[in-house]
């Protein structure tokens, strides 16, 4: 279809769909209201299991199956990116290549940022069940933070600090641990992904049963997976070249 016809088709369908959907949106309960039945139950359940962050309690306890699925999606897509971005047969990976010259101040800032970012990420992971944050958020910070080395220095420095194989394992181990914890709790309590560890008073680091364990598994998986993901894109952008076309004028 020509662009004009395509837009015409979209306009017809879009107007019809808007006629269906806009009244539905307008018919929703008004914004900011106080009727949230699921919220009420979730808060009760969260307090019953001594969790101070209701969202963590939902993610890792009440609706843990969703999170298992979510972590599997993450694993699948990292696997998928690794498969899709593998160098094709006729391509070569050029060695080396740092970025261009980097300003000393940028370099210093980058190096200084790395430990701070990593500590921040670690903190977000470990206190996820108490304060905002958790395995996913902290993992993202950790996996991205390590790539600050690229800003600071060279690709080579990054490669030394970032052994891909280890991250590959970390990602798989995190995802596997989540599934295995679920199966273990099925064996121990008869319910899948149920809380199994005796609980401590609220506010304590280990106060929420299996929640910290699952949270940690997610943290390991996401940190490693993010690192692998970004590494593969960096590799494509910097190293992989078509062998034949390289010599073309």
């Amino acid at each position: 279809m020509s662009p004009r016809v395509r837009l015409l088709v979209l306009a017809v369908g879009g107007i019809a769909l808007a006629v269906l959907v806009v009244p539905a949106l307008v018919g929703l309960p008004h914004f900011g209201g106080s009727v949230h039945p699921y919220r009420t139950h979730a808060v009760v359940a969260s307090v019953a299991h001594h969790s101070a962050n209701v969202i963590s309690s939902i993610n890792f306890d009440q609706r843990g199956l969703d999170t298992l699925g979510e972590e599997s999606i993450f694993l699948a897509s990292v696997l998928g990116v690794v498969v899709l971005l593998r160098p094709a047969e006729e391509e070569t990976e050029t060695a080396s290549l740092g970025g261009g010259p980097v300003l000393e101040s940028t370099k210093l800032a980058g190096y200084a940022m790395v430990p701070i970012t990593l500590m921040l990420g670690f903190n977000i992971v470990t206190h996820g069940h108490l304060t905002p944050g958790g395995g996913f958020q902290g993992g993202v910070v950790l996996g991205t933070g390590i790539h600050l080395l690229y800003v600071a220095g060279t690709y080579r420095a990054l490669q030394r600090a970032r052994p891909i194989q280890v991250f590959d394992w970390g990602e798989a181990i995190g995802a596997g641990a989540f599934a295995c914890l679920g199966i273990a709790s099925l064996a121990m309590t008869g319910a899948f992904l149920a809380a199994v560890i005796p609980t401590a008073p609220l506010g304590h680091l280990f106060s929420a049963g299996t929640v910290p364990l699952l949270n940690g598994a997610v943290g390991v998986e996401v940190a490693s997976g993010t690192a692998v993901l970004l590494a593969k894109f960096l590799e494509q952008a910097i190293r992989v070249r078509p062998a034949a076309k390289e010599t073309e004028p």
Partner: protein, 116 residues
């Protein structure tokens, strides 16, 4: 104001779809898809919002439940949604890179190996 956030969500979905249909570059298509997806975040969080309520994080010991918090369930759903967004974007961008390798273009009007 009572339905404004929902309409914003609807608009983001619509504009994302328009962007995909008009797209001249597959990277652009992927970005428009992520804008369309952001409509779901806005919708879910607006649905769970309650005026003058606090975030559903207590942070310190609370012996009895406090119900004056915004809906934590939609927040958990949105978290999952954000993970999905990152992963789908990554997969589609790697596909775009490989398409470009083969065809030297990302303009869907010029990519026609599948016609018929």
């Amino acid at each position: 104001m009572s339905v404004y956030p929902y309409l914003v969500a609807g608009w983001l979905m619509a504009v994302g779809i328009i962007g995909i249909v008009r797209g001249r570059n597959l990277v652009q298509t992927v970005i428009c898809l992520s804008v369309a997806q952001s409509a779901t975040y806005v919708l879910l969080l607006s649905v769970g919002y309650q005026r003058h309520a606090t975030p559903p994080v207590f942070g310190e010991p609370a012996s009895k439940p406090n119900f004056h918090v915004v809906d934590p369930v939609v927040q958990a759903l949105t978290l999952t949604d954000i993970v999905v967004s990152a992963t789908v974007t990554a997969l589609l961008l790697s596909l775009a890179i490989q398409i470009h390798k083969r065809h030297g273009t990302l303009d869907p009007n010029e990519l026609n190996t599948l016609e018929g």
